[in-house]
Symmetry: C2
Subunit: 347 residues, 2 copies
C-alpha cells in the first residue's frame, strides 16, 4: 500500500477548510488570503468539481514555489466610475484575486444596482459556480467570465489562438435554490482530456483535434492540438467575447498573449476576469423573486422526460445536490490531493 | 408578371428609411416612433439579416391592425437604482421598446460606467446586432438579450417550454470595426426552417426534432416540434439564463407564459429584453482600445486557414462588410416586402 492511499479521504467542510488554509499558509500566503483561496476551492469540491477544487494545490503550489505566482501580492482596486472597479491582482493566486474582484463588484452593485469588476494580473481562479453561489447568497445575479491559456483554434483556423474561456451565470432564489450555470466553450473541458490520458483511455472524436486540426481519439494528440467549441462559430464567438471582456477590456493579456502555466510556470500569466453583478433586491421583493424562480423551475421540471426515468433538471441542480450530500456525508478527496495538503500544511 | 415583381427592389438607405417610416406611420405610429422602429429594421437589412429586417412589417403590421400590438404605447422608464432602468413598453412595437431601453441603458452607463435596462411589455425587437452597433458607435460594449415565443424543449424534456432566446455582444473599436456577435441558442434559426418549408426543401436532421422529440428532416414536422440547442445542456442553460434576465427579472412573461404571436396575434406577448452597456471610455483612451482591438483581430486573422482560401473571420465581419457593400450599391429587398411597405405608406 502506498503512503498516499492511507490518508483520510473523507473530510468535514470545516476540518478540510482548516487543513487547506494551513496548506496555503505553508506556501507563503497570509491566513486571510489563504482562507479566500480555500473558500472557492472547497466549494468546488463540494459541488463535485474535483478537477477545479483543492486538487489545484498541485499546480498552484508548483507555481508559488518557483515564484511564478506571488504569495504576498499587493492587490489594488480602482473605481474609474461609480459602478466600475479595476482590480490589479499583482500576480496573486487566482481565487484570491477572484474573491477581491467579487467583493469589489458587490460593493459597486450595492451602490448602483449593477456593478462590474475587471481583474488583471491574475491566474487560474477555479470554477465560476462558487463565485456565482456566493453572489446569489447575497442577492446578486451574476455574469462572470475568465480568459485562459490558449488551447482552441479560431473557427476555420488551424492553430491555438484562444482560450477555452469559462462563462458563468447565476440568479438568486431567496426561498430556494439559485440557478447556477458554469460552462466552458468547448464540448468538454481540457481536464477531461488530461484525465483520460492519465487513465490510458481514448476520447470521443468530437472533443478535440490534433495539431493539424484533424479530429482525434488520442488524448495525447488532443492535448497537443485544440479543443472544439460548441455550436461551431457560435461557441467561437462566445469564447472571443469572454476574452474581450476578461482580457482585452480588463487590460490583462488576451488570446496568444496569455502565457501557458504548463510551458512557463515561473512567468506571470496576466490572466483577466470580469464580474457583472446585479442587485436583484432593487428589482422586487424577495417573495416576488422567489415565486417567479419556483414557477420557472417547475415549468421546466414538468416537461415529460424524453427518456423515461431521466427527469429534466435545471442549471446548478446537480452541483447543489452534491453539495447538500457532501455536507452530510463528508467531502471526498483523492488521496494524492490530501497528501499534498498535509505536506504543505506541515511544511 | 405579378404586380409585386414590378416594384423597386434596390433602395438607398435614406430613401428606404423614408418609405418605411411612412409605412409605420400608416400603421398608426407617430413619425418619431416609426423612425425608431425603422432604424433597427433598416440596419438589419443592411447587415443582410433580411428575415429580421423590414420583412417583419408583415407580422408587425398584422398585429398592429388587430391591436395585438399598440401603435401609440405609453412607454415609461423607472430608475430603481443609479445604474438600473425598468422600461415598460406598454405593448408597443418591439424595436420601439428596444430603442427606448437602449437609450435608457446608455443614460445609466454614462452616469455609472455600466448600466442595465430591463424591458417588459414588449414584442419581437428585431435582431440584436443593430442595437450592439448603435451602442458601439457611442463607445459602449454591450450584452443584450431577449426572450421569445416557446419553441425549444428543455434538455431531456419532450415539449416546447422555452424560447430560442437571442443573445448578443458588442465591443467598440474607435479606430475600426467593432466586434458584434448575435446568436440564438439553436443550431439554426426558426426562420431558416420556415424558409426551407416555403422552398419545399428538406432540412438537416441536426436542426430540430418533431413533436415527439425525434430528429427530423421535414421542415413542417420541425415547425410542429422543437429546435435543438447548441452544445446540448450548455445551449439549454444559456437559453434559460437569457430568459431569466430578459423575462423573469424584468417582470415580463417567461417560458410558457410568453404568448405566441402566431397562435394569438391579437394578444399582448409581454416579451422582455435586457441591455447591459459598459462605457469603455472609462477603461482607457480611444487609442488604447483601438490598438488592442486591432491586435486582437489580427491575431485571429493570422491563423492559417484549415481550408485553403477560407480565411478566419471575426464576429460581425460578414454583417459589417454587407453593410458597407449595400451602402454603396443599395439595399436589396424582396418585392413582397416593398409591396407591403408601399401599401402601408399609402394607406
Amino acid at each position: 500500500m502506498s503512503e498516499a492511499s492511507q490518508v483520510q479521504t473523507v473530510w468535514s467542510e470545516s476540518e478540510l477548510s482548516r487543513l487547506a488554509t494551513r496548506a496555503f499558509q505553508g506556501l507563503g500566503l497570509t491566513e486571510t488570503d489563504a482562507a479566500d483561496v480555500v473558500k472557492i476551492l472547497v466549494l468546488a469540491d463540494l459541488f463535485g468539481l474535483s478537477t477545479h477544487g483543492l486538487s489545484r494545490i498541485e499546480s498552484y503550489g508548483e507555481r508559488l514555489l518557483v515564484q511564478g505566482i506571488r504569495a504576498r501580492p499587493n492587490i489594488t482596486v480602482q473605481a474609474p466610475a461609480p459602478a466600475l472597479r479595476l482590480v490589479d491582482g499583482d500576480n496573486g493566486v487566482g481565487p484570491l484575486v477572484g474573491m477581491h474582484a467579487l467583493r469589489a463588484a458587490m460593493d459597486a452593485a450595492r451602490q448602483c444596482g449593477i456593478g462590474m469588476a475587471f481583474a488583471r494580473g491574475s491566474n487560474h481562479f477555479g470554477p465560476i459556480s462558487p463565485y456565482s453561489l456566493l453572489a446569489a447568497e447575497e442577492g446578486f445575479a451574476s455574469v462572470i467570465g475568465s480568459n485562459a491559456t490558449t488551447t482552441i483554434a479560431p473557427w476555420g483556423g488551424s492553430d491555438a489562438r484562444l482560450g477555452n474561456s469559462p462563462l458563468g451565470f447565476g440568479v438568486p432564489n431567496p426561498g430556494g435554490s439559485p440557478f447556477l450555470l458554469d460552462m466552458a466553450m468547448s464540448v468538454v473541458a481540457r481536464a477531461k482530456v488530461r484525465n483520460a490520458l492519465k487513465r490510458g483511455e481514448s476520447i470521443p472524436d468530437t472533443w478535440a483535434t490534433d495539431d493539424k486540426g484533424r479530429a482525434t481519439t488520442d488524448p495525447k494528440a488532443a492535448l497537443d492540438g485544440f479543443l472544439l467549441p460548441i455550436g461551431g462559430h457560435k461557441g467561437y464567438g462566445l469564447a472571443l467575447l469572454v476574452d474581450m471582456f476578461a482580457g482585452l477590456l480588463s487590460n490583462a493579456a488576451y488570446l496568444t498573449h496569455v502565457k501557458s502555466w504548463v510551458d512557463a510556470p515561473d512567468e506571470p500569466q496576466n490572466l483577466g476576469h470580469f464580474f457583472i453583478l446585479i442587485d436583484t433586491r432593487m428589482l422586487g421583493s424577495a417573495q416576488w423573486l422567489s415565486e417567479r424562480m419556483m414557477d420557472f423551475a417547475a415549468i421546466l421540471h414538468d416537461s415529460p422526460p424524453a427518456v423515461a426515468g431521466k427527469p429534466v433538471i435545471v442549471p446548478g441542480e446537480i452541483e447543489l445536490k452534491e453539495m447538500a450530500q457532501q455536507r452530510t456525508t463528508g467531502i471526498v478527496l483523492e488521496a494524492a490531493t490530501v497528501a499534498l495538503l498535509l505536506q504543505h500544511a506541515n511544511a
